[in-house]
Amino acid sequence: MHNFTPVASLLGGVLIGLASVWLLAANGRIAGVSGILHGLIWPMSASPPGDRLWRAFFIGGLVVAGFAWHAFSGAAPSREGFGLGWAAAAGLLVGFGTRVGGGCTSGHGVCGLGRLSLRSLVAVAIFMATGVVTAVVVRHVIGVAS
């Protein structure tokens, strides 16, 4: 447990919660990142053009936050030995799964649990369980340096 960062992680979590409340209070939107991204990308989306705009700005804020963070605390550590094939497979599964399941860690996790949704609680329990099993298998059985 030598990497345990309780204070920073708790504070960071509170900021994530506050950002989600902000988006709901000011924009009337649920901060589910997979859905926000998909609504921006999906070409047949029937929603008005303004609907795409707020999504683009939210995601722009997410990306700018990364650049701002690196400016103050240096570049993020790079990951050696994790092949791009694994990254591509992981991305496909995350993109597909979050759209079929209607949410990810933010939509079902932060927002769904906050509204005491049983639907979201079930989703969180399932993706936590498959996530744990997969991480253990990929690292210890297959031996990937993930």
Binding site: V14, G17, M44, G61, A65, G91, L93, V100
Partner: protein, 141 residues
């Protein structure tokens, strides 16, 4: 324009939270999911801190804004969550951290996000009632 600026601010704060908490570092995420390794429980506190805030403020706000969200527990929810978890367990990225990690300008983050977009589009053209039946309401999230 106010709405766009507000969305940008929310995304910025959300992203700073991801970096401060350690969630934007996929290796730290996997150190949490990999319970057979040198386990790092930090992510419990990320989720705990975030949900502590939403638990207090979300239900009143949803009532005030008369927003109805989906309740049903069906096959797509179960299958989708399971598949998402597998992808999360491989790479250590979920959608928010992956997007803010684009700022690393690493091939890994770029490839992951591109594949994630393709996977999301594929879910919509999947030839079953999975996606078509829920196409409208899925956009909510």
């Amino acid at each position: 324009m106010i709405a766009q600026l507000s969305a940008f601010g929310a995304g910025l704060l959300f992203g700073i939270g991801l970096w401060l908490s350690g969630m934007a570092n996929p290796r730290k995420v996997l150190d949490f999911l990999d319970v057979a390794g040198d386990w790092d429980p930090s992510l419990l506190l990320v989720m705990g801190g975030a949900v502590a805030v939403t638990l207090v403020l979300f239900r009143p706000l949803l009532r005030l804004k008369k927003i109805e969200l989906r309740k049903e527990i069906d096959a797509p929810l179960l299958a989708g969550a399971a598949i998402f978890g597998i992808g999360w367990g491989i790479g250590g990225y979920c959608p928010g951290p992956a997007l803010t990690a684009l700022s690393n300008l690493s091939a890994e983050a770029l490839v992951f996000v591109a594949a994630m977009v393709v996977g999301g589009l594929f879910a919509r053209i999947w030839p079953s009632d999975f996606s078509a039946r829920h196409a409208g309401s899925l956009a909510q999230r």
